[in-house]
Symmetry: C2
Subunit: 166 residues, 2 copies
């Protein structure tokens, strides 16, 4: 996958970030990705081989009446854009749970999407002091700034204790 | 993607099914899919290029200490297995929302997973009498029958009114 444009993430970087460093309200905006017909067909043939994603002809007769991308492709593209935006610096994005993954609008060939993330919550792990948990709202928007996918990501990351054990 | 084994879905088939036909408690079990190293690397390089998914060497130094599949790959594989199991017959699986997508356990190279679905809820659309909504619990399990991913899928499908407009 190649992304067009560049990330203007204010909170990225090449250093690891720890749970205590993350602030409620932090925002990140990813680069853009353009959905080509070929990428829609390629994803669908592997993971979502249904009429509305496989060809213009079969899509025209489907529920949607036109070719659209699999919602799972949009979710995976969103994840890739966020990994590249590095909201946690060099600390990996490790998901515990995704809450409320909503398919808000269809994505069509030629649509260009980006993702916007915001940290909503930060809580300590009840059992493991070397780990902490954050919740981010991640909204994927098209070139008209309309949401096409939204989700709450619950992610786990190391605390300072993990970096410098006592 | 190729799936090993065959679906023993009791509720599939080649005819369309409508919202009124779906019963609470209906179950479906998909075929199996085996995660190869190659498929883990291929998915990760496109959608989740992080150390724990890209090579044995980088994974050994990661949070998990070993190579694991991207949780998004498991989610996409689960969707494909369910599409092939045809719980709605020839009516497509169209998601409105996924709730509580939980990454329960890592998936490792050689793991064989299948998906089990159960219809939990059926509700009418408040605004469109030609459409209805169902909620399914979908649990993805490995070869030891341990859950690796679980989710609630909220899907939309046509009612009898859509099939035979007045």
């Amino acid at each position: 996958m190649t992304a067009a444009g560049s990330s203007d993430a204010p909170i990225g970087g090449h250093q690891p970030r720890y749970w205590e460093d993350i602030e409620i309200g932090e925002r990140v905006r990813s680069a853009e990705f353009e959905f080509s017909r070929a990428s829609i067909f390629a994803f669908a043939s592997q993971y979502d081989p249904q009429p509305m994603h496989l060809s213009d002809e079969s899509a025209a007769k489907s529920f949607f009446g036109e070719l659209i991308a699999s919602g799972w492709q949009t979710a995976c593209v969103t994840f890739r854009l966020m990994v590249d935006a590095k909201p946690l610096g060099s600390t990996p994005l490790v998901g515990l749970e995704i809450k409320e993954l909503k398919f808000e609008r269809p994505v069509r060939p030629g649509d260009r999407v980006h993702a916007e993330g915001e940290v909503l919550e930060r809580r300590a792990s009840k059992t493991r002091p070397e780990r902490g948990i954050i919740t981010m709202r991640v909204v994927t928007k098209n070139q008209s700034d309309q949401p096409v996918l939204s989700a709450l990501w619950v992610a786990i990351l190391p605390t300072h204790l993990a970096a410098s054990p006592p």
